[in-house]
């Protein structure tokens, strides 16, 4: 691991680079651009940050942002735009950053994306916008791609820290009412886009706080909650109404919103809130938690703030996390911050197949999380009090690729072994929560409970006046995909309400 450089050191180095760039004849030649060093993200020092909730990635300085932006080749064929799920005009916004016009940069991003401060932080860029970046290809290394996500975050943070965004204009009232169920990224985006057209919008949220998974799942150290608050304040300023502590399907049926409460259209964005378990022996022992529960206690219920929070946290010292996605990384790193001495991630395939964002895997490793790959639990072992004391683990090897092209994990017979642990966090995925579909027979769902669409171009369901999007349609996906679906649904709703 390379030596840790502070934000000040990185900034100083960037300023030197900037002088060199300024001295070159303009416009820069591709050769000059390729020679500019990729700017590392300033980060808190690993041994310090592993015990605090502070945001790990501190964000580019202005000098770093300008230097990084100067690496962009402004490619004609725009492979980056192609592989961003919402097709942000990436070269255009980066050009503005290179010019030092950060306000224009964020305005450009916001033509397409409504949550850049969030997506810039949490998108799996190495599999999206940065995957086919020409700069990365020239270096034959995806890590050398232009840091599009970091630049996007920089522009969004710049706006927030310099007076904030202007509240989007709202057209004159149309008298039409729209209900948005769920306040995750999908719901927030629908609310903004529909409200802009002058419709009356109410968001219904089961929890006491807004934001969905970006509030209760993704931890503070990766996405500070003040960023989520900021998005919600801006919706409130637009006149969006909020009904928290309101479970559609329980407090009120979806159908009643339309038939009794006079909503002209409804958007369902209830996410993928159903924790999956392994169905192995010992899974209900004390000390085994779904990552959802663990992270909700810590984030939403603020259990990390032991002095003030009433919600208790399990004091695990020797923690095993099952799974290899973002949820597993978050659970593992949260466990460290809550005082665990040893944290291991157990994953069936190899390091190459980990589905988590690459940066989170790196951060977890730097912070001391151990990766036990090609392993899978067979059984969780308990003591007389019914508490976890260990785990029986099977060994795996990689076999033939499956339908998705990922190598299939194959169990190695007779190679099982026991490990000790006092806590197990299960992060093997989320199914769709059936609360709404069970109480709304008019909605069609597939075998896994995902809501089916009649018209995918408008995210319209098979139920009249009802639209849906985000994880409840896609299965556990990503923030940017949920946002993209929200925008499509909002366009569909706005079109429908014109009639």
């Amino acid at each position: 691991m390379s030596e840790h450089l502070t934000r000040e050191q990185l900034d100083a180095a960037a300023k030197v680079e900037l002088e060199k760039i300024n001295a070159l004849p303009k416009p820069l030649k591709p050769k000059d651009k390729t020679a500019i060093p990729a700017q590392p993200m300033p980060q808190l020092e690993p041994s310090y940050r592993a015990r605090v909730m502070e945001e790990v990635a501190q964000g580019y300085t202005e000098a770093q942002a300008i230097v990084e932006a100067n690496r962009c080749l402004a490619c004609k064929n725009q492979p980056c735009v192609e592989s961003c799920p919402v097709h942000i005009d990436i070269p255009a916004f980066i050009a503005k950053i290179a010019e030092g016009d950060f306000k224009a940069a964020i305005a450009k991003i916001k033509e397409t994306s409504l949550l850049p401060a969030i997506c810039g932080r949490v998108c799996p860029q190495e599999r999206q916008c940065q995957m086919n970046c020409t700069m990365g290809k020239m270096h034959k290394d995806v890590n050398q791609a232009v840091a599009i996500g970091r630049l996007e975050r920089f522009a969004a943070d710049y706006e927030r820290n310099n007076g904030g965004a202007t509240v989007p204009a709202v057209k004159p009232a149309t008298g039409k009412k729209v209900a948005v169920i769920g306040s995750g990224p999908a719901g927030l985006v629908v609310a903004a886009d529909v409200r802009r057209e002058g419709h009356d919008v109410t968001i219904f949220e089961a929890f006491h706080k807004l934001g969905g998974v970006v509030r209760y799942g993704i931890p503070e150290f990766r996405l500070p909650k003040k960023i989520v608050d900021n998005e919600i304040e801006s919706l409130a300023a637009m006149g969006v109404k909020f009904e928290t502590n309101f479970v559609i399907g329980r407090t009120r049926k979806l159908k009643d919103l339309i038939e009794k409460d006079g909503f002209d259209a409804v958007f369902v964005g209830t996410g993928a809130g159903l924790p999956l378990f392994m169905n192995i022996e010992g899974e209900n022992l004390v000390g085994v938690f779904a990552a959802n529960e663990y992270l909700t206690r810590a984030n939403l219920m603020r259990a990390y703030d032991k002095e003030h929070a009433d919600t208790p946290m399990w004091p695990g010292k020797n923690v095993v996390v099952l799974g290899g996605g973002n949820v597993a990384m978050d659970a593992a790193r949260m466990a460290l911050r809550l005082g665990a001495e040893k944290v291991r991630i157990i994953y069936r395939r190899s390091m190459n197949e980990l589905p988590a964002r690459k940066e989170e895997v790196l951060h977890a490793q730097e912070e001391g999380v151990e990766f036990c790959v090609l392993q899978n639990p067979a059984k969780i072992l308990g003591d007389e009090a019914g508490h976890v004391r260990g785990m029986l683990v099977d060994k795996y090897e990689l076999g033939e690729p499956d339908e998705k092209g990922r190598p299939r994990p194959v169990k190695v017979e007779g190679a099982s072994f026991e490990i000790e642990c006092d806590t197990v966090l299960v992060a093997i995925g989320n199914g769709s929560n059936p609360l709404i579909s069970n109480t709304t027979p008019e909605l069609s769902v597939d075998k896994k409970g995902h809501i089916l669409l009649e018209d995918a171009t408008a995210n319209k369901t098979f139920m009249e006046k009802v639209y849906a999007g985000g994880d409840i349609v896609l299965g556990a996906a990503t923030v940017i995909l949920a946002m993209g679906e929200g925008r499509r649904a909002a366009a569909g709703i706005n079109e429908f309400l014109k009639k």
Binding site: H208, D310, H387
Partner: protein, 295 residues
């Protein structure tokens, strides 16, 4: 937010609130519960059964026992105060039909949730026998309401200060053995230990026994998995699949162990709140006694 319209202390540690919640009052059915918080930022989410509802007033009735930090803090709320977070109705309603003769066994604060169930059972045409248990007479909640509803009511106290002396399982066993009065169904609601022993009592007689599990919860909508219990070897979520389950299928040891998961932290939280007066709730006492027994 939900305004408290009426407050009454029912015994030394049991309180009754009528709370403004018009939508919940309309939708709720017997067996369902709400989740509340006494503080939006730092509060814990605590489930309480909806003991009654008044759709005209737009209110629901909650009856709770002070056992820890949140319930103690809640007991200090007064009429006119707002409960900052209240959400519901949650859980699946009690399955009600004309079963014939139903024996309803309830103990302690479990008497409150039994009230709407007995109402619904009577409305469906059942004959209802109630067995009510408490440490002493002063702890019987809703004695008159329950007596008025039941075809037959049996009171049991630990000290014999009222009704018969002994545990609720004694008359339950007698009824199961009674060839003429044998129940078609038993519903037991109270401390987990009580429910466990009711289920054990009826099992040899093959009388279906429904219990209402009070596992630890967070969201109450099936999202976190914290409330899971083992029923007939399968994992179920109390907040959506329950809270009522077949008592003969419940893995009671696992259920009791899971309920104790956060005990040290809960005690610490109560300490911080400055309300620890050495009081120990019935559930804890029973669990402690049981723990000693099994050693």
């Amino acid at each position: 937010m939900a305004k408290i319209l009426f407050k009454k202390q029912m015994s030394s540690a049991v309180y009754m609130f009528r709370v403004e919640a018009p939508l919940i009052a309309q939708e709720r059915k017997a067996g369902q519960f709400i989740i509340l918080q006494t503080n939006k930022d730092n509060g814990e989410r605590v489930p309480l059964t909806i003991a009654d509802a008044d759709t005209t007033e737009g209110s629901i009735t909650l009856i709770f026992q002070t056992v820890g930090k949140t319930t103690t803090e809640l007991s200090k709320f007064e009429v006119g105060d707002d409960i900052p977070v209240l959400v519901g109705p949650l859980g699946s309603p009690t399955h009600i039909e004309n079963f014939g003769h139903v024996v309803c066994v309830c103990g302690g604060v479990g008497i409150a949730p039994m009230h709407p169930i007995v109402q619904a059972l009577k409305a469906a045409g059942n004959k209802v026998t109630i067995i009510m248990g408490a440490r002493n007479e002063s702890l019987f909640l809703m004695k008159d309401e329950m007596t008025a509803l039941a075809d037959n009511i049996i009171f049991m106290t630990d000290d014999g200060s009222y009704g018969r002396k002994g545990l609720v399982t004694e008359p339950l066993k007698e009824l199961c053995e009674d060839t003429k009065g044998k129940p078609d169904m038993v519903i037991a609601i109270g401390p987990p230990i009580m429910m466990k022993f009711c289920a054990l009592t009826t099992k040899p007689y093959g009388v279906k026994t429904v219990v209402s599990l009070n596992s630890i919860m967070v969201d109450g909508t099936g999202m976190c998995g914290g409330c899971r219990v083992t029923i007939g070897g399968k994992t179920k979520f109390v907040c959506v699949d329950g809270p009522e389950f077949d008592g003969h299928e419940v893995d009671w040891n696992n259920m009791l162990q899971r309920m104790g998961a956060f005990k040290p932290q809960e005690q610490e939280s109560l300490h911080r709140f400055g309300a620890n007066d050495g009081h120990k709730c019935n559930i804890d006492k029973m669990a402690d006694a049981k723990a000693k027994e099994s050693k």
